[in-house]
């Protein structure tokens, strides 16, 4: 009787330890590594550019490869274009909304149409599950003006 109560207590203890560890540990372990020299850059427009109407954005990438979302291959990811927003939390999937444009089909360029005014653009690569790499593969944030 006493020993079965102990088993139950130990079992409960183990279960609670694992339950407590699992959710916290998972996202950090899941981030795919990226080489330190990998970086993204916006090939066009340039920082400070003035554009009119619909414009093309070149998604540049050095020392890294492009793969569509859902494809899990080392040293690859897909582009996300951050518009008028900072870099999101790096240990969870990049949001999918008008400020975070996903290029999940492996695109290396896209077109944007933004309202007149100043806007910021920045690239951030995501892995198969849209989670940024470790370290994150990102570009400088540029500012453009739409007329």
């Amino acid at each position: 009787m006493r020993s079965s109560a102990l088993v139950a207590a130990v079992a409960a203890g183990f279960v609670s330890v694992f339950v407590a560890l699992a959710p916290g540990a998972a996202p950090a372990d899941d981030r795919h590594p990226a080489p330190k020299d990998a970086y993204a850059y916006i090939g066009w427009p340039n920082d400070g550019e003035v554009v009119t109407g619909r414009f093309k954005v070149w998604l540049g990438l050095r020392n890294f490869g492009v793969a569509p979302s859902g494809v899990d291959k080392p040293n690859t990811g897909h582009h996300h274009l951050l518009i008028d927003v900072g870099v999101p939390p790096l240990d969870e999937p990049i949001p999918n909304d008008r400020n975070h444009v996903h290029l999940g089909a492996g695109q290396t360029e896209t077109y944007l149409e933004l309202p007149p005014g100043r806007h910021t653009l920045q690239l951030l690569m995501g892995d198969a599950d849209h989670v940024p790499h470790d370290p994150p593969v990102t570009s400088k944030k540029i500012t453009i003006t739409v007329r």
Partner: protein, 163 residues
Amino acid sequence: MIVRVAAFLLACAIPGTALAQDAGHGTHDMTAPDGQTAPGDERPKRMAAPKDARAYIIWPSNGTVINGGKFWVRMGLQNYGVAPAGVRREGTGHHHLIIDSELPPLDEPIPNDRNHLHFGGGQTEARVELPPGQHTLQMLLGDADHVPHDPPVTSSKITITVR
């Protein structure tokens, strides 16, 4: 004793479950891109590409004179996507840079040699070093098995000079 055994079993069983889930997750990821198999076909079937898909060399531009001979080629792609070699997914392929050569036969894998550089890692830039003189560069997309699409997704051929 019973307590120790139970604790040991628990310690084994719970991470075991976690591993099984991880494996399942990984399998799921891998099945998506490689969903298609070639049933009974000896020759890989050419993957269809939309007519408006186009590759182009962003840099250098046609006629560029490059001092030194080492340079980055930036590879552009319109209305199409990049996927690493081995990944079969609709609407994607990977870049090949053809140097000083004509387009290879379109119904077989693109050769892999110094005149046909493969970017099977999904790269969109190429570091190239060429001897002094005139050279031609052209891009050609290949599918999961390095076979060009139908119609082929290719760039115009440019000529550059290395000094």
